[in-house]
């Protein structure tokens, strides 16, 4: 396989994975493109490389910046903005974990905490089942939450070293 084809495959694969995980396909593709590009790209270049509109690039890149995955670079004497993706995979993973935890896991845990407190007739199977499921899911969610927190703070080799040691 030649490089241009391989790049295309990578962008496609990343886009597909993204969309399966609730991340806009185009956002994942722009990210993929920037990841495999050594230097920062302009809006124009991204439009060209992925055949998408100016407006779309603008919004997508803004999202990537909000996720902490891309930075805007300004060059002395130029009006154009350049976009550059952090290439450190561990940073990327952590950043994604951090954002999704904040946006999705935290709110759910908050609701579950409320629901665990709901009182009811301890003889009523409907109540018992509700209460047990909510309590169990809450525990699971909190374990995931703690694990993510550790991951977010951790150094890569330490983290995987510890995790992978679990099954020797």
């Amino acid at each position: 396989m030649e490089l241009p084809e391989a790049k295309q495959k990578f962008i496609e694969a990343w886009g597909k994975l993204g969309s399966e995980w609730g991340i806009n396909r185009t956002m994942a593709q722009v990210h993929a493109l920037l990841l495999i590009t050594p230097d920062a790209l302009t809006t124009e270049e991204i439009m060209e490389a992925l055949s998408i509109s100016r407006g779309n690039v603008n919004m997508t890149v803004r999202d990537l910046i909000n996720w902490g995955l891309v930075e805007k670079q300004l060059r002395a004497g130029e009006r154009k903005e350049y976009f550059y993706a952090d290439k450190d995979t561990w940073n990327i993973a952590r950043q994604v974990a951090k954002e999704r935890r904040k946006r999705e896991l935290d709110p759910v845990i908050k609701i579950l905490d409320e629901l665990v407190k709901v009182e009811g007739d301890k003889k009523d199977p409907a109540y018992k089942t509700f209460h047990k499921s909510v309590t169990d899911i809450n525990k699971l969610a909190k374990n995931v939450d703690k694990t993510l927190e550790t991951m977010i703070k951790a150094d890569e080799s330490w983290f995987w070293g510890s995790i992978l040691k679990i099954f020797k």
Copy 2:
């Protein structure tokens, strides 16, 4: 908060979380409903509880069965089918991990393995960056893959015990 309201909240929260994670909202809601219901429900009852059509219930429930989260129960002397959700949270988590690994992570790893092999000019920054990003992501994906495999095989208390011990 009273039980009926709490149930509603739970179904909504689960549906929202599902849709943020690439799982059809209705599927997540039906799952939520079954999780907090002590006994198995019929198509009719699910339609009623969630105000959705018969066709939708049928397809959604089939998906849940394919995911290994719900089972069909038949009762002697009755033509109707009853649907029952496994209430063991750890089983659910494992089952979801297993399915998503198979459907999404495995194919990506296969592509990454191909892309890592792509040869190019070692002096070319475009090639160097491509190769490094692909290689790094491949390593990360393989670590996740191994961790999921461990989780899928593991017993709950052992797994979380080991993971949470990591940060004492």
